[in-house]
Amino acid sequence: MVHARRGGIGRYYDVNGWLFVAPALGLIALFMIYPIVWSLWMSFQSGRGMMMKFAGFANIVRLWNDPVFIKALTNTMTYFVVQVPIMILLALVLASLLNNPRLVGRGLIRTAIFLPCVTSLVAYSVLFKGMFALDGIVNSTLEAIGIISSPIPWLTHPFWAKVLVIIAITWRWTGYNMIFYLAALQNIDRSIYEVARIDGVPAWARFTHITIPLLKPVILFTTVISTIGTLQLFDEVYNLTEGKGGPSNATLTLSLYIYNLTFRYMPSFGYAATVSYVIVILVAMLAFLQFFLARERDR
């Protein structure tokens, strides 16, 4: 009987199910799949503004010869290589410190550290710009306590501008990653730590040999999320440098370059689409890496 029902009713249910998801699927197709396919088609076209024509692989050749693209790619990778490890480590340390049940006021401190990531990207960038101006509060404080003798040109020197962007995104996203670790730490059995303490394992070794290995899946997850976020970095740089990625293209990111190619320069929609596919490929490669590492862990 059960078998008999399956044929007719089962199909009936399937049709209904598809009808229910059809509007959502239609919208996804219209607003996600269609633009993705269209931008792929666009990446093979070139031209000025709306005057586009098919150009084959001309845009890819242009990528190789474009020093600005290379610069943007290098900058993006620099942010990724420098900032992501700093932030992940900082978030881990903060999470394990704040996981200590004997710490007074940890709810308040947790909230304070998490708070930056609910602030508006634009608002905090504008605020950072003011704070890190040549005669801003950061320079005057550093000068007052005698760390530096002349103000640091945060926004006008290529090196310091990069440092500023890294400071800004670290401030914004450390708390966000910390929350993941705090949640994961709740799932680690207290008795493991007790055993380690009884065996005389020092605190630092407990952190590196118990906490980090047990958090590995979460660390992997946050690393990939942060990687994608860094590869798509746009708001902070745009607002800190008035959309120019300056000084000297030192803070230009791939996303900002795409924006400039589309909206600031002579509009090259085709070439901009090509650059955006570079990000797609980078993200895909890193996601593949995550799957690879996760599979290895299961074995």
Partner: protein, 424 residues
Amino acid sequence: MDIFARAHLPRIAALALASASSLAVTAAEAKEITIWCWDPNFNVAIMKEAGARYTKTHPDVTFNVVDFAKTDVEQKLQTGLASGTADALPDIVLIEDYGAQKYLQSFPGAFAPLSGTVDYSGFAPYKVELMTLDGKVYGMPFDSGVAGMYYRKDYLEAAGFKPEDMQNITWDRFIEIGKQVEAKAGKKMIAIDPSDAGLIRIIMQSAGQWYFNKDGTANIADNAALKASLETVGKIMAADIHKPVAGWSDWAGTFASGDVAAVVTGVWITGTVKAQPDQSGKWGVAPIPALSIDGATHASNLGGSSWYVLESSAEKAEAIDFLNEVYAKDIDFYQTILQDRGAVGSLLAARGGAAYEAADPFFGGEKVWQNFSDWLTKVPAVNYGIFTNEVDAAVIAQLPAIIQGTPVDEALKAIDAEVSTQIQ
């Protein structure tokens, strides 16, 4: 069903009534013209004045002047044009002259041609030329960006210089004076934004060159004027007589707060300079310093912009008539905007007006407008091309290296290499 209808009927009825009455209001009253521009002390205020004049004679037309940052205007416009949605666009938009051809060429049909309505023979020819494409003229010429050197008389006096010492100097002399001002008055000579090529463009055009040749091809590697401009800015920065700033508001803040002794820029800054009444009488205006190369002059240009009507605008006819009535015919309007805002218009007939002859007490009674008018006629004509933003970015990218002592020829080669991939 019944409950639904009873609950919603009154609301629906009210809605219908409201939309009917608002329709009636629209029919009887206003057509609103939306305008995008970017400087509250300058073109925004001027457009409001122009709107007020037009509304006096045409009470059925009102104006909504929207004030964005300049880059936001350009980027919103470009987004709107690319998406093809007319709803996202204004009726009239202000476009800086450097970008005019870029928009006209890459978005054909987006702007309404005004030739046929407007008599262009009354305007400065260079303005008309830059808005002409395939025999049609598209914009309403607005202000000129003739450049001048605004300087603080009090700071220079403290350093031992009189206004005569500032007239017709070279950039080398400017740097010498800057060192004295720094030593004796404790002020930086000039504010420089290392991610803005405006000053470099001013200096380059004063010697009759631009990023592009007359035919639109890149003119970088053998451009003596560009080379000299880069060297000059490099020297200023190496001499440490400048205050580094980041962005327009930071830059404008340096002279509002009295941090710098001189400002070299377009005449449109006058409104912003005069926005500090307590500095009245302390400012003077001199021609910009000159390079020491062939073809060097004391006259140049920075920016300047014109009004364009969108082809898709619902109020296209009113917008064109408005621009034609005020900007092409109203001589008195030009006197007002000159006195109040320092706008040197490009309608030639306006130059005969009384305001151009007047002395300005803010500048210690100098006849500044007469001077700017004179300099305007001497500005070397160049072809702005369509890739100014791209080359600007390439030039800015090389500035730090130049300050650190990289030979300018090498920097020019790097700019040339970058530009050749960018302009296509």
